[in-house]
């Protein structure tokens, strides 16, 4: 298991799918396949004038954490292209510390 992972602030994921497309392009996966896919929840009304409308990216078996890009000092393709700038690549240990006290974050290991 890699000691690196991705921390995602999914509160601000807008479901634009740039991560999915950037990954697919970077690795030349067949159409529809990617190391990261985005799930949608909602929209539905939770309470008066309160809505659930969430997008949550998840890593698939295809994700390599872009080791070849990272070796060159770049960000993983999904992290770089995320339109909401909500993804952070780093050591899981550090990311876990960053996550403390922050709502609606998810930490992925590979």
């Amino acid at each position: 298991m890699s000691e690196y992972g991705l921390l995602i602030d999914y509160k601000y994921c807008t479901g634009c799918l740039s991560c999915d497309f950037a990954c697919n392009q970077e690795h030349g996966f067949p159409l529809g396949q990617s190391g990261i896919k985005v799930a949608q929840f909602g929209p539905w009304e939770i309470d008066t004038d309160k809505y659930e409308y969430l997008f949550v990216p998840a890593l698939t078996e295809l994700c390599t954490l872009c080791s070849q890009r990272v070796e060159k000092g770049k960000q993983p393709a999904c992290v770089q292209h995320c339109q909401s700038l909500v993804m952070t690549y780093g050591r899981i240990e550090d990311l876990a510390k960053q996550m403390v006290g922050k709502p609606k974050h998810v930490l992925y290991s590979r």
Partner: protein
Amino acid sequence: MDFDNPLQKQLPWRWQEGDLTVTRSNAWSGPGCHEGCGVLIYTDKEGKMVKVEGDPENPFNQGRLCVRCLALPEVTYHPDRLLYPQKRVGERGEDKWERVSWEEAYDTIVTKFNAYKAEFGPQSVVFNQGTGRDVTWANGRLCYGFGSPNSSDFQSGMACYLPRLSSLYATTGSFLVADCSQHFPDRYDEPSWTRPECIVIWGCNPIISNADGFLGHWIVDCMKLGSKLIVIDPRLTWLAAKADIWLQIRPGTDAAMALAWLDVIINEKLYDEDFVEMWTLGFDELAGRVAEYPVEKMAEITWVPQEKIEAAARLYATSKPAAIQWGLAIDMTKESLPAGQAITALWSITGNVDIPGGMVTVALPYGADIWGGDWGYSHLSPEAKAVRIGLDKYPLLQWGLPLAQADEIVEAMLTDDPYPIKAIWLVGSNALACMGADPEKLMKALNRMEFVVNIDLFKTPTAVACADLLLPVLTYPEKNGLRAVWYHIGNINKAIEPVGEGKSDAQLAIELGHIFNPDLVPWETVEEYFDAVLEGTEMTFEEMRDAGAVLYTDFEYKKYEKGYERGDGELGFNTPSGRIELYSTAYERSGLDPLPYFEEPTESPFSTPEMYEEYPIVLTSGARHWASFHSEHRQIHRLRAMRPDPIVEIHPETAAKYGVGEGDWIWIENHRGRVQRKVQLTTILDPRVINADHGWWYPEKEPAAPSLYGMWDVNFNKLIPWDPGRSGFGANYKSLLCKIYKVNQGEEAQSWLP
């Protein structure tokens, strides 16, 4: 390389990464887009583009990129790209073409255009465009170089940003945009910038639509920094779901909403008295007019509860700075100018003008004649200027952008009144399937023309139905160019050889313009032209490229207090009174109501109650999707897979009422026609309103008429009339009435399967 701004970095414009070459560039159409994000184009040893990435060094997008640029290689290398000039050899609509040389294409254009000029005057040739962005200046240059005053688009009321721009220009003498730090290369770290306390998203979904140099995800950046949100939208968008207040407005009532806010703000004295006193004209007259639109009455009209309107108006007026990111819904109401005027009054009386995090006035970067400017218009003869179509009927066209009025162009094409139109230069516009209203009328008008030149990346229904000559243009990695928006200017750098024989829009304008009028278009190459317009940067095109630069101008707030708004150096704004004219003297001189007002959509539950009985659903359209830019990208497989079918969003209650279900194909019908859509059930809409996709055609279906790529069954424009507002600006594209019913089995428009 010395930059004026110490925060600007010198960066390489081309380098090697292993086997791949990387070229830094800016993505400006084609394909169509209103952004111009910084991109890195990767090419292999054979010079083929393998991928496009966002440029992390570009302050505009900071590395991010949307799916349409990520899918660019599929666009550029698509087998259906137009690769060489072709002339029509069958009848219009038969889709029979023959390849010709550029020499023959240019000869034909020059011979025919000059013959029409000699017999009917230069005004008999109209230069229209779609909404491509490295096209506008080129279209203007060519039009004015040829000597015609008629440059516009085929859209009723030119109902896309132009109404708002004209309204702003008439009442403030400038243009204003929501301040998300975009003027500064260090962006959110810039010390003089403050994040808006509150951002109003009015009639747009900016994270997808990304209108004109405003990257929608800057809103998300500001949300993270603590900006509150008010969203005014008939649909529960993602932004609406996150907003502090969402006002689910009835389509077409934006002016009523703005007047209701003004009513609350004026009655509760929440406005900025000092700013109003010092810098505005006609506050008392405005207050008098606003009193005719009390919030309780506007609540009934907009279908939004009074207390919500009041809460939103209070939140907006008590937040400072506050910004309003407004959108197309303002333009796509028939009386769009008073709507824009009312919203402008909101940010004016609250003193949110040209302050950090408010609405900032903007100018052309380095005066470069690219994003806006003269484009040679001032060199037209007084006689030519005087016959611009629509000028007599719509005097407001005298001020601001020198546009010909689109509805009047179509009338002139059909009637020869006020004079014959003989030829159309139509660039980057699939008007029949996209921006044009009533496509049958438009097709008839186009087919009265003796000569139609269509310039595009792909063959479209409009091309097949009406064009005599097809010219191929280039995608951005295939060309050199300039990309400019209010805040900065940068290079479009050629990264690959053109796939076919295409030319850039700039090349077409400069090469043909030079033939038509070498005095006005003295440049022989586009690079010479770029050098000339970059004079203010003190760099040539190559020097700017070598610096890898996106050049930012120095930006200051409160320019009206420093004498920077007006050409004469006086304080104040560039209007006759020197003030923001809440009471517009420009409107008054144009025979228009000088104060904002609301008028019901021409067809609505209130204006046509009898029609509402027969057509009992309010119909809106035009919401954008990630996968396409209006009618573009329908043939791009990976994007089409995101949105394979033309969709109509319907509330489940409404669907049940009319016996339709998820995935059903239905007809949406009004008294003008009917159009098919596939049902998507959703609770994001009021049950009284449905929302249909626009800009649909089927690149995979038969091109030849009557099919025209299967356009007729799915062409939303069949439901829309050519019917502009009193000023000549605005049209009801987004507020119609309709009924719905299932399509008979076997008659569904669907054809594409992933």
